[in-house]
């Protein structure tokens, strides 16, 4: 509904005089009127012209007003057009039936053109308000996306963390999340998680997790202790049925020790500086469901130049090809070998490119994090 274009109203009545009367009184006020004296014509015009409002007589020979509105509300192209019924004054049942079928209002016959005008005006206003509410909500959702992206740390802001990342959210409020925790000068934590569901609640969840990570991933706590504390809080605050799978890599670049905590997440891939890629498989519960959750923990010695990949299941799973990460992760090992020489900051994008090509769309959110020791 632009400002310059006149609002359009489709008037439907088998009585030609009524049509003419509506046309005269509304067009005088600047509305553009389409008219139809039968149901099928009315539906054809509604589909073609997408009027801003429809005035619909109930009692018509052949296809009645009820038949017409049913069909209009069945079609996604005409479902949102407000319909006002024209009905006899004593027909209470038909008024109720009209509302039942999705009409926004009714006008009793004989109608007064000024009443028609007033009702057309108020319902156009309501419709404009509804449309602007939808636009407003869409814009807020985009803000959530922006806020979510702003929460994700970039390699440029964390040069000491030596990581590269690929992040793609399928919908406005993505379910994947990662964070970098600069615990001390030589100790860094890398957190990759995947929330169940992709909705607004999820994106608020990511903000909570980010705050919990900052509070609990400190030199005072071991990685396992940090995850346990985060889990205990999430059990309390997450809505029922919501959980996240996560992987936490904790690297001490002084002692060359790495600890991996796995909470129901796909296995970390290790790409040694000189050697074959392999999976670090650990079993563990997901985060946010069980108070006494058990997480898989592994500590390994690492060498400078080794690379580690943590990622969400979107990278390896395919609903179309019925691949789950349990078997998908293994089958991807050769691909890691192919990108062994790619620098760590470009490795995630290169990996996604190898798997999906340039234009194939992933079926899920994807995050891939590559860390170099």
């Amino acid at each position: 509904m632009g400002n310059k274009q006149p609002y359009t109203v489709l008037a439907v009545d088998d009585n030609l005089l009524n049509l003419k009367l509506i046309e005269k009184s509304l067009s005088k006020e600047g509305y553009k009127i389409f008219s139809a004296d039968n149901g099928p014509d009315a539906r054809a015009i509604a589909l073609k012209e997408k009027p801003d409002l429809i005035l619909l007589d109930i009692e018509m020979p052949g296809e009645t007003g009820f038949d017409v509105i049913k069909k209009l509300k069945d079609s996604s192209e005409t479902i949102a057009i407000p319909v006002i019924f024209l009905t006899g004054v004593s027909e209470v049942d038909s008024k109720l039936k009209g509302f039942d079928l999705g009409a926004v209002d009714y006008i009793t016959k004989p109608f007064h053109p000024l009443e028609v005008l007033a009702r057309v005006r108020i319902h156009l206003k309501l419709s404009i308000a509804t449309n602007s509410l939808i636009a407003d909500q869409a814009s807020k959702l985009r803000q959530v996306t922006e806020a979510q992206v702003a929460m994700l740390p970039t390699p440029e802001d964390n040069p000491g963390a030596l990581f590269g990342v690929y992040y793609k959210a399928l919908e406005e409020a993505g379910g994947d999340f990662y964070d970098i925790l600069n615990i001390s000068e030589k100790i860094t934590g890398y957190f990759v998680a995947d929330f169940s569901g992709h909705d607004i609640k999820t994106s608020y969840g990511t903000a909570s997790v980010k705050a919990l990570l900052a509070q609990n991933c400190t030199p005072v706590y071991s990685p396992a202790e940090s995850m346990k504390m985060i889990n205990d809080v999430l059990v309390e605050i997450l809505p029922d049925g919501k959980y996240l799978t996560a992987c936490y890599m904790h690297i001490n670049r002084t002692t060359k020790k790495m600890t991996i905590i796995n909470a129901g997440h796909p296995p970390v891939v290790c790409l040694p500086k000189d050697g074959e890629p392999y999976l670090i498989k650990t079993k563990g519960d997901v985060l946010g469901i069980f108070k006494d959750a058990h997480f898989g923990t592994q500590s390994i010695d690492v060498s400078e130049g080794d690379k580690f990949f943590a990622y969400s299941d979107g990278l390896v799973e395919s609903a179309q090809n019925k691949i789950t990460w349990a078997n998908g992760a293994d089958s991807l090992l050769p691909v890691y070998k192919q990108i062994a020489q790619v620098p760590y900051d470009r490795a995630p994008a290169e990996l996604v490119n190898h798997l999906f090509g340039n234009d194939a769309l992933p079926e899920d959110d994807i995050v891939v994090l590559c860390v170099k020791v």
């Binding site: 005088k28 016959k109 053109p113």
Partner: protein
């Protein structure tokens, strides 16, 4: 009957109202023919439908006498009776020709 007054009550110009009256006369005469046919053939539902059409148009234009006549005819015909319809039709025709003469 004051067309100017009726037009202003409807919020439209007198010229537009005049045009609507002409349309009303044409459609109503055609509806009256349908009622007559309904009476001849004993088809009260057709007579009711035509009366309904006259009722709606007359009501919207503010022709109260014609509206009341057509309403009574419709109600009666819907119940299957067309007694006294000759009188009704004559009254209707008088009402319409009165409009024509204004």
């Amino acid at each position: 009957m004051d067309f100017k007054d009726l037009a202003s009550r409807l919020g439209i110009d007198e010229d537009d109202f005049q045009e609507l009256v002409e349309l009303f006369v044409t459609t109503t005469l055609s509806d009256i023919e349908k009622i007559k046919k309904g009476v001849q053939e004993g088809n009260s539902q057709d007579a009711a439908a035509a009366s309904h059409s006259i009722k709606g148009a007359a009501g919207n234009l503010g022709f109260d006498d014609i509206f009341t006549l057509a309403k009574d005819m419709e109600m009666q015909a819907k119940q299957g009776s067309m007694d006294n319809f000759e009188d009704y039709i004559r009254d209707l025709e008088n009402g319409v020709s009165a409009l024509n003469n204004i």
